[in-house]
Symmetry: C2
Subunit: 206 residues, 2 copies
DNA sequence: TTTCGACTAAAAATAAATTTCGGTCGAAAA
DNA sequence: TTTTCGACCGAAATTTATTTTTAGTCGAAA
């Protein structure tokens, strides 16, 4: 049985195809059985090969794990980038950046059976890729701010202020995510993102 | 050896005094040895009594633990309330609310020897009292917003918006705290609180 | 070049034995 | 009557021992 994804370009070589097979199979197994439960034997069997074969294409289990996490994060980033692209103002872009991120992550966690009370114990998922993930989000968010400044919608910000603002937004959204996951209550998601965006853009001043 | 705190009013009765002794001793032992390591035997010996005596004044170890956490949180809240009281504008109040909270919590965690990488594993400290803690902070923060609206510094906000804004700020500050703790890097603390407050009050619009 | 069975060593899991500690009780002292 | 505590129990935690699992390697074969 061969795993392929219909949304990605066809792999260039037979080797690329097999590498892709490994990752896709691993992704599905991780989603189905959880991150800690899946063995290399499982993955190998899923693509019809022996366990040693995996070591021809990947250095270690960790390398496969990292590639899967990159894939998951990439999927969320694509979704976020698309939503940001479709918005026309900086305010709207910031809004959909936050909404799409929180919704997509929620779906990802649900896919992995990571339900609400277990978020903190799933350190692998949140910490393993967080640095890389925040870097990608930071790029997207900086793009939104730059766009707003260039169109005149936003005032000028010093590089230090941009750094600080990006830090505030990304870590702040993470805190919101943890709080909603922890209480298993997402009712506040849209009002929260709404007031966050509105007050950041327009301010609370009368 | 009798533990007393010089900043609190003297206990009304001998029983109150002993109850206070228990809490102060427990607090110091928790700080010194960590939350999981301290036994009731330790606490009893620290105040020169037998272990069973503790059960005359407290229902369970958990009740003592809760009282200690209330004490710790109360100390942070007092510090925050004082700083907010001393500020004159809503913007300033929001600023010192955030700065004081993040600094005070950092000191508390340091006191417990909870260094940066261990924050997530110290679920007891963060989760055991979080609900109560956020409730108290919510009261203080709502007071700041009400003050700003009453002085005309801030525009009117619907109750739903106030709820959402409070949620955003508290969970957002928690996310910032986790990020700084996780990276063991507090350089961003003041710039982050600065831009957060400024953009919330004045907005980013040009 | 690609594949894999056999193998190793470390890690993880399981089981058994031992120790620790929260909590209770009844009696004694204040 | 209030306060105190040693003795005790049972559950939980820890430690030790044993077994099983799994990541990774190697050499040979296709």
């Amino acid at each position: 049985m061969s795993y392929t994804t219909s949304t990605l370009p066809a792999p260039a070589t037979k080797e690329d195809a097999l590498r892709e097979n490994v990752i896709v199979a691993a992704q599905r197994l991780f989603q189905h059985y959880g991150l800690a439960k899946v063995t290399l034997e499982d993955i190998a069997k899923a693509i019809g090969k022996g366990k040693s074969t995996l070591y021809y294409y990947y250095k270690s289990k960790e390398e496969i794990f990292t590639a899967v996490m990159d894939r998951e994060i990439g999927e969320v980033m694509v979704e976020m980038a698309k939503a940001v692209e479709a918005a026309t103002t900086a305010e709207e872009k910031l809004c959909v950046f936050s909404l799409t991120k929180l919704r997509a992550l929620r779906k990802k966690l649900a896919l992995y059976g990571i339900v609400c009370k277990e978020v903190n114990s799933q350190a692998e998922f949140t910490c393993a890729m967080r640095q890389s993930y925040m870097k990608r989000e930071s790029v997207l968010l900086r793009g939104i701010l730059r766009f707003g400044i260039e169109t005149g919608e936003l005032g000028r910000l010093s590089p230090t202020d941009v750094d600080a603002l990006v830090f505030v937004m990304l870590s702040g959204l993470h805190g919101m995510e943890l709080e909603m996951m922890g209480n298993n209550n997402f009712d506040m998601l849209e009002p929260a993102v709404g007031i966050l965006t509105r007050s950041l853009i327009h301010g609370l001043k009368s």
